[in-house]
Symmetry: C2
C-alpha cells in the first residue's frame, strides 16, 4: 500500500481507492463505503476519508466499478441523421435525461438505415458494456432493420411506429397534426390542405394520418396531399402548386417548419397574404419559426420530455420489468400570427 501511495505521488497516475485508504489510515473498503454511502462508518472516520479524498483529488473509476458491479451505468445511442432538427434534439433530450439519472451516454452513428450497419453499431455498443440502447429511427427502413437484430441488450427505438417488434417511444405526431388541423377548422375554413413529408418516414405518415382524421371526421373535401422532402425548396414548390390550384386554398398544414418556410415564401412572392388570405401551420417549432414572416403557428415537440420518457422506458427494460410497447409524448400547438385574426 505504501508502494502504491508513493507511486501515485511520483507518477501522474490518478489516485485510487487504496491511495486514499493509505492517506487516511484506513482500509480501501472503508473508503469505498464512504464514497458510496453504503454501510456504516463512524463520523470521525468519514471525515478523515473525505479529507484524504479532497487532498488527493480522488475520483472513482467507473470502469472498475462497472466491472465489479456488472452495471456500467452507460446508455448507448444509435443516431442516423444527427444533423436534422428532430433527431439532434432527440439526442439532446436523451442526454439530459440520462445525465439526471447518473447515466453516461455513448453515441455512435450510422450512415444508412441498413441492417448490417445497425447490427454492427449495436455490437460496438454492446462491447462497450452499455446497459441499454436507444435507436433514433425516423426512417421506416430502420424500424424494419431492427426487427431481426439480435436483442441481447435492452433496446428502445424512438420512432412513431405501430406494431413495432421493439418497444418504441415517440411524440404524438398524429395527435399534433389533428390539433393543428382542428385549429384551422375552428377558424372557419371549409377544408384544410396538407403538404406532407417524404415517403418512408414515420413522421410523414403519422402527421398525414392526423390531418386526414380530422378532415374525414368533419366530412370536409379531402384534396390529395402534396409531398415534399422536408426542405424549404420542396415547400416552395408545393406553395406554388397550391397557388395554381383551381380550388381556392384557405388553410394549409405543412408537415414541417422548413417546408412551411418555403410555402410562405411562395405565397409572399405571389402577393398572397398570410394570414389574411391563407392560413398556414407548420410542425416542429424550430427556433426560427417564431421569426418567420409572419411568425409561424406550429406544433411543438417536447424533446426533454421525450428523452425522459424514452430513458424511463429503457430503464424499465433494463430492470427486467414489463414495459409499455409504445409510449407517447403529447404535442403542443403553438399559435402565432400565421393563423392569427385577419386584419380588417
Amino acid at each position: 500500500m505504501a508502494k502504491r501511495a508513493e507511486s501515485a505521488a511520483g507518477s501522474g497516475r490518478q489516485p485510487g481507492l487504496s491511495d486514499v485508504a493509505a492517506a487516511a489510515g484506513v482500509s480501501h473498503m472503508t473508503v469505498s463505503r464512504v464514497v458510496n454511502g453504503s454501510g456504516a462508518v463512524r463520523a470521525e472516520t468519514r471525515l478523515r476519508v473525505l479529507e484524504a479524498i479532497e487532498k488527493l483529488g480522488y475520483r472513482p473509476n467507473s470502469l472498475a466499478r462497472g466491472l465489479a458491479t456488472g452495471r456500467s451505468r452507460t446508455l448507448g445511442v444509435v443516431a442516423l441523421d444527427s444533423v436534422l432538427y428532430g433527431p439532434a434534439s432527440t439526442l439532446y433530450g436523451l442526454e439530459n435525461a440520462a445525465r439526471d439519472a447518473g447515466y453516461a451516454v455513448s453515441i455512435t452513428s450510422v450512415n444508412a438505415p441498413e441492417h448490417a450497419q445497425i447490427s454492427s453499431a449495436l455490437d460496438r455498443l454492446r462491447g462497450q458494456g452499455v446497459e441499454g440502447v436507444v435507436v433514433i429511427a425516423p426512417h421506416e427502413a430502420t424500424a424494419r432493420a431492427l426487427r431481426d437484430v439480435s436483442q441481447d441488450v435492452p433496446l428502445v427505438a424512438v420512432a412513431d411506429a405501430e406494431g413495432s417488434p421493439v418497444p418504441v417511444s415517440t411524440v404524438d405526431h398524429r395527435d399534433g397534426a389533428r390539433r393543428a388541423t382542428e385549429h384551422l377548422f375552428a377558424l372557419g375554413h371549409e377544408t384544410v390542405r396538407h403538404v406532407a413529408g417524404p415517403h418512408g418516414w414515420h413522421e410523414s405518415r403519422s402527421r398525414e394520418a392526423g390531418w386526414r382524421d380530422v378532415v374525414t371526421a368533419r366530412g370536409a373535401a379531402e384534396f390529395p396531399v402534396l409531398r415534399g422532402d422536408w426542405s424549404p425548396q420542396s415547400g416552395y414548390l408545393a406553395g406554388w402548386e397550391l397557388l395554381h390550384d383551381p380550388d381556392p386554398v384557405g388553410a394549409v398544414l405543412v408537415a414541417n417548419d422548413q417546408m412551411a418556410l418555403g410555402v410562405l415564401r411562395a405565397f409572399s412572392e405571389a402577393g398572397v397574404a398570410v394570414p389574411d388570405d391563407v392560413r398556414v401551420v407548420g410542425f416542429d417549432d424550430i427556433p426560427e419559426a417564431a421569426y418567420f414572416c409572419p411568425p409561424l403557428t406550429t406544433v411543438r415537440q417536447d424533446f426533454i420530455a421525450l428523452g425522459k420518457q424514452t430513458f424511463g422506458q429503457l430503464l424499465g427494460r433494463i430492470e427486467g420489468q414489463r414495459v409499455e410497447q409504445r409510449t407517447v409524448v403529447p404535442a403542443e400547438l403553438i399559435v402565432r400570427e400565421s393563423t392569427g385574426p385577419r386584419s380588417v
Copy 2:
C-alpha cells in the same frame, strides 16, 4: 472453468474469455491472443478458438480491457449548443473520426458556458475514464471558462480562438470569409457589405475579420457592419436596412446561411433581384442553401475533416506528443446562382 462455462450457459450472462477458453480447450490467454492478434498462435488452434467465439457469440468486454490496459479508447465530448447546425455537425464529424480509429464517444452537454458547468462536465467524463476530451466551444465565454479548468485530462477545444490556453482546432472562418469577399470583388463590385453574427461568438469575429481584411486590402469603402443573431429574422431586418441605405448596395457577405435567407427574403419583397441587382454570399452551406431562391453561394465547412483533425490533435496530446496549439481546416467557397452572372 467448467463452473464458469456452465453458469454462462445457464444464466443469460455474456460469455467471457474463460468461457471461450473452456469451449476451445485452451487457456484464456490463448483466446486473448487470438482476439487481439498479438503473439503467435498455431493456425489450427486459432481456428478452434474462432469457432468457439462464434458459437458463444463472444464479444470482448471493453471495460475490463480498459481497466487492464489503462486505455479506455473512449473520447469525451462536451457540447453546448448541440442543436445548431455547426455544433451538431462538429459532433457528427468527431464521432466519425473516433469510430474510424476504434474510439467510442461519450457525450455530455451543458446548458450554459459557465465555468462551474464545464468543470463538472469534465469531472463526469474523467470519472468515465475517457482518454481525452473535446469541448465544442463556439462562445468566447466557453473558451474563457476553459482557462482555469483543471487540465488533468488531455483536452482540445473546437473554437476559432487565438492565443487560447488550450489547444484549439477549427475551420478557417477568417480565410473562408476572405475568399467569399474576394469572389465578390472579382465580380466587379466596388465594395462589399457585411451582415455579421452576434457578439461573443468566435465565428462572428473571425468571419468579420476576414471580410475586413479584403475590404481594407482593396482600399474599398468600408461600411459599418450590420449585426444579426444568426436567425433568419435578424437577416431579414438587416436586409431591409441595406435596402434603405443611401449608398447603393451591390454585394453582401452574410455571416451565416440562415441570416442570408432572411436577407434574400427582404430583397425579394422589395423587388430587388439576386443576383441581378445585388449579389449575396452566405456561410455554412447548410443542406437547404442549395435550395434557396436563388441557390446560395456560400462557404462550406468540411466537418468530417474537422473531426478528423481535432481527433488527431487530441490523440497526439493523449500520447504525450507536443501538438500544434492551433490547427485549421480550410473552408471552401461554393459558388451558386446568388453570385451568378447577371442576366442580360
